[in-house]
Symmetry: C2
DNA sequence: CGCGATTAAGTTGTGCACAACTTAATTGTG
DNA sequence: CACAATTAAGTTGTGCACAACTTAATCGCG
């Protein structure tokens, strides 16, 4: 009996591949805005709530400070965000959209619409897939925490 | 009317997060074998079919030579695989498991079982999710190719 | 056969991810 | 109040991903 799991049969591999495929679809469109996908996620978070701290951004994106800090440094160098040391608590840094960063919102929304259309499924199916994935992530995270 | 897509509502973001979460679950287990997740995928492909060329491995993992070549260099340095320049076509390099690489198979299979169990869903649901993700990837890829 | 086009693998450069660590500010407890 | 513990952000080092490129071998067409 063959117990070796085949690559193509693995849900984890399908996940890894799907994630890279969709980011690859975003890439040429985001290139025109001068953004990478993680940078785009930062802007999405700020379009929703401007002035988040570095930690709050990390929570929203599920990324630690070692990833977020250099990401913000590049976004600031590109002129899309601005970092401000908080006066109340000098440890905290809040991140704010610049004019240029705020101005990308409508083009950014258009890109998410185009990508959604490329999924090859209805909005309802896409929502169901998203919920399934979020439940999966939650289960995996609780297992990690319980180790 | 608010048309800005929220981060948590995006299927693409759920995908990106789920992929990183599950790789994070693999990490401590693969660490004990001295492997990263992409390195583990290479071994899975070779456990199924030993002696693949670099290009065939790239096709199996959906990665280009710029990613696979250094990956194989590290796997070879770790003593899990061996590269052989083909005598028939000197451009081609085939990748073969060493004793040590082949010996990891049973422990590797056990890890995939443990991770599968952490998904928080039945094997049938996991299979359905996998198929959904593969259909998604296929649709996204065909859109990319058609641009 | 000759030679331009193609193919295989590898290299270079940029930007994530993440573990481990550092620095500096703040908090809580005696 | 003192000061150890905690917290916030950033740094360092490793290993992907991927675009763009290089090198070398093979192919195919005239």
């Amino acid at each position: 009996m063959d117990t070796t799991p085949r690559l193509r049969e693995q849900a984890c591999f399908a996940l890894y591949t799907a994630s890279r495929a969709v980011i690859g679809l975003y890439r040429p469109m985001l290139d025109r805005l001068g953004l990478t996908y993680p940078q785009f996620l930062v802007l999405m978070a700020l379009w929703e709530t401007d002035g988040l701290t570095v930690t709050a951004l990390g929570d929203a994106l599920q990324l630690d400070s070692g990833t977020v800090s250099p990401l913000l440094k590049r976004l600031e160098a590109a002129g899309f965000v601005e970092r401000r040391r908080e006066s109340g608590d000098e440890r905290r840094v809040t991140v704010h959209l610049t004019e240029a960063g705020a101005a990308l919102e409508s083009r950014g929304c258009e890109i998410t619409r185009v990508v959604g259309g490329a999924a090859g499924m209805s909005p309802e199916e896409l929502t169901a897939l998203r919920d399934r994935l979020n439940a999966f992530t939650e289960s995996v995270r609780s297992t990690r925490a319980a180790e």
